[in-house]
Amino acid sequence: MEKQAIKQVEETDYEVRSLDSMCLNESNLVHPWYYNFKYSLVGILFGVVFIKAEIISWFRIQEMFRLESFHMYGVIGTAVVVGAISVFLIKKFGIKTIHGEAITFTNKKFNKGQIIGGLCFGFGWAMTGACPGPLFAQVATGAYVVLVVIASALLGTWVYGKFRNQLPH
């Protein structure tokens, strides 16, 4: 009975994890924890772009939604084109990771959350002027009050997890 319950949790988790942008295919390689710093280097690059291209500015986000500036559309549009070409090339040539493992992709399944949740996030994005990445960057550049926004976002995530089964999907 207990085993079955655990299995069920795993299955629902699998479903959610595939809906999420989380990595599903567990690596069989075991690396020391500090190997994770290679991802920090990519994060550093991302952070530099955030600051240098003013992506973390509340004003830039307002201009985007008020159609007063092309800047953010240009950034996101270019990123999608570059990302799509990269994914296409990785698939076409079967490029592997630096550790020789296959690179895998999961297909996202449609559910109502993408519309309802998407609208909720859109409201929050325009109010706070930040999506989750920029929130961390804003705090780091000295806007400490944004910690309150992050705490609220954690609460929002937690409340979603708590009431997930009652929400339409």
Binding site: I51, S86, A140, L154, G156, W158
Partner: protein
């Protein structure tokens, strides 16, 4: 040198680098770009509270927290060594509309007239920071991703549910910024 570092970058340069983060994470370890998952990992690590959604091995996803750590390091270093960022040149229409609500300080990344500890105690500040933040956390998890996971990673992999999510983000933001935010700012 410092001058070049200080100047803001054009959109295409930023777009190309952000786009290259997608293959960089894939090639470094088959990782999929998506920042908002970290909010879930932090919940799983700190307040799992016996909720099945938060009972998983978050340590397996800790690479993503290291990734965010990189963003935080840059923010701290740039503030320490390059000083405060130059004020953003705000579109005159936006500046005029904001001035009508008493928002006149455009020097920071977030408007100091709206995002401050003192403002947090006002209804307007509480709605913007508290309710706004809640909607970011709730909405991204409900939608299964944010701008990075859906709009960039999902669209790069040609996933139509991600296109639906991206359109919903933009529609939500458009409605808020143009039709609802003016009433909140007037509070």
């Amino acid at each position: 040198m410092i001058e070049t570092l200080r100047e803001p970058w054009p959109w295409y340069m930023a777009g190309i680098i952000i786009g290259l983060i997608v293959p960089a994470l894939l090639i470094l370890g088959n990782k999929h770009f998506g920042i908002s998952s970290n909010l879930r990992h932090i919940c799983a690590a700190c307040f799992p509270s016996n909720i099945s959604f938060f009972n998983y091995d978050w340590k397996k996803e800790s690479w993503n927290l290291f990734f965010v750590g990189g963003i935080i390091v840059v923010g701290i270093l740039s503030t320490l060594f390059l000083g405060a960022t130059d004020p953003v040149i705000v579109h005159p229409d936006l500046a005029k509309d904001l001035a009508a609500y008493g928002v006149t300080d455009f020097s920071g990344l977030v408007p100091a007239d709206l995002f401050s500890w003192a403002q947090l105690l006002t209804l307007r500040g509480f709605i913007l920071m508290g309710v706004g933040g809640f909607l970011v956390g709730f909405g991204t998890r409900y939608a299964g991703g944010c701008t990075s996971g859906h709009a960039i990673m999902g669209l790069s992999n040609l996933q139509w549910p991600s296109l639906v999510a991206t359109i919903a983000f933009m529609v939500g933001g458009f409605i808020m910024a143009n039709f609802i935010l003016p009433y909140i700012l007037a509070l």
